[in-house]
Amino acid sequence: MGRSKQLEAAGVVIAVALLIFLPRVSSDYVVGIAITAFTFTVAAAALNLVYGYGGLLSFAQLAFWGIGGYCTALWVMDAGGSFWTGLALAAGLNAVLAIAVGWPALRLHRDSFVIVTLAFSLLTFLVARDWVGLTRGPLGLPGLPAPTLFGTKLASTQSIYYLSLAFLVASLGVLYAIVTSRIGRTLLALKQNQPLGLAHGVSPTPYKLFAFAVSAALTGMAGGIQVFYLKIVDPSILDFYYIQAWLIMVIIGGAGTFWGVVIAGLVMAALPEVLRFSNELRMVIYGAILVVAVLALPQGIAGWLRERRIARLRATIERA
């Protein structure tokens, strides 16, 4: 294990330990914000897999989030199933949908992929609002019950917090395993130079579909957890606010870098709440921070760090 790997592992252990103790020292209000920060971070990291690594700007993440929420809620409320099988169903349904939407969309140009995924999210919103028989329309499904685990009701905010934390750690583990494998390297290679990838024998579609399906499944599960924390799912779960927040996290963190996006996700999700001290101005301040960040760090935080590392490396090589 190299030194940077050791630092990485130590950082993860410390961060998880701190997060485990967080509910003991803070209010339900803070714990609630952390739950949303976790589900948002998973959604942002999943978007990073498709967009940052795969080079595919996908607006379908919003649809996957909403479908995950509705699927889990309907499974519990209408089919009488458990929350857990609902989550698994949401993951599976989203993966299938991602392949069904992605396969034809990937035959088009990269730009067209953006439009197709955008249309998919808009369409999903219409279904949620207008298919009243299935989704209850604009009223949605309120009063979602607390999930039960081994006979215990996860009724408190704290217990949902630990569920969300466990999901965060597991999801990031899966994503980390992918992006640090050959598969992640191949995705980055295709993003940087697809014709060269073809000349190296890479068939691009399976790689991109895989990334799209994994990100869809994880985003769907994050949506499922989110609606059971809110105890309601209605068409506002498909509001553009969500995808906008995740995109900001990916761009500020540095598209195509793993930890940059994770850290940006956790920080940016909490930031609007931190800024509540001046309620009228908070979104203005948030916007100002964003503008400054984009101007100062066009490649995101991780991109900025990478450039500094390259500059140092160049200097060392030139001296040698």
Binding site: A177, I178, S181, I183, L196, A199, H200, G201, F210
Partner: protein, 254 residues
């Protein structure tokens, strides 16, 4: 004996312009064949049609007798035909080693599950790929850039990276599109020596190049293109002495 590569009656037009107009030639294993010709004579289009990056309008391309036309570019690569590009192509943000490993990844017996779970089979394949990458990096004189992102290298160095990437999986045929354009003269001699050495080890090369000294010194056989057609073909000496070649290049009638 079945030729390693046979091209018969290859044709490709763009909006009425016949870029490639009935080109035929053959290559045998262990040869170094050069393609020369003025700009716009159809050299790169021919390579693109052979390697599946463009679809030919007509003609037949076979490798060891097996037809290639119906295959996608990546399938042709996996069949053992690697290529480089006229405009240098590398993975700018990946390190030099990662560039070479990426070129090799589709050529070992590991699958996606091996990749995700880092099985012993994957680790074995990885360590032999790393060893091969190290050999090629040393051969190219790029040792100190081993862990540097390729984006920081010079144009000539990137050409070398593209070349050694194509060599990674020990392909049956390597097509090089202008491998020494923009590379300094000392380096060109080194590349020449290296390619000769690789040929002695069994590799086969088809090389498009404008640098006449390079082509004449290195190639066993030279094919001359002009206006989408094969003008002539022969040993470097014979081609050099051919009056038509001079005319095609310089527009002068002897």
């Amino acid at each position: 004996m079945i030729p390693l590569l046979s091209v018969t009656g290859l044709a490709k037009s763009y909006q009425g312009v016949r870029a490639v107009d009935g080109v035929s030639f053959e290559m045998h294993a262990n040869e170094i064949v050069g393609i020369i010709g003025p700009n716009g004579s159809g050299k790169s289009t021919t390579v693109d049609c052979i390697t599946g990056f463009q679809t030919a309008d007509a003609g037949d391309v076979r490798m060891e007798g097996a037809p290639l036309q119906a295959l996608a570019a990546w399938q042709i690569a996996r069949a053992g035909l690697m290529r480089t590009f006229q405009t240098v192509r590398v993975y700018e943000q990946l390190t030099l080693e990662e560039n070479l490993l990426a070129a090799m990844a589709q050529f070992d017996a590991t699958n996606w599950l091996d990749a995700l779970f880092r099985t012993p089979r994957l680790r074995a394949a990885d360590s032999s790929a790393r060893a091969r990458a190290r050999t090629l990096i040393n051969m190219a004189g790029l040792t100190r850039y081993h862990d540097a992102p390729v984006g920081i290298l010079s144009y000539g160095q990137k050409k070398l990276v593209a070349l050694i990437s194509a060599l990674m999986p020990k392909p049956r045929l390597v097509i090089l599109d202008e491998p020494v354009a923009g590379v300094n003269p000392t380096r060109i001699r080194e590349i020449e020596a290296a390619l000769r050495l690789l040929r002695d080890e069994g590799e086969t090369f088809l090389i498009i190049e404008h640098n006449m000294d390079f082509i004449m010194n290195l190639c066993d056989r030279v094919i001359v293109f002009d206006q989408g057609r094969k003008l002539t073909e022969g040993t470097p000496a014979a081609v050099h002495a051919d009056a038509r070649v001079l005319e095609a290049y310089l527009g002068v009638r002897p």
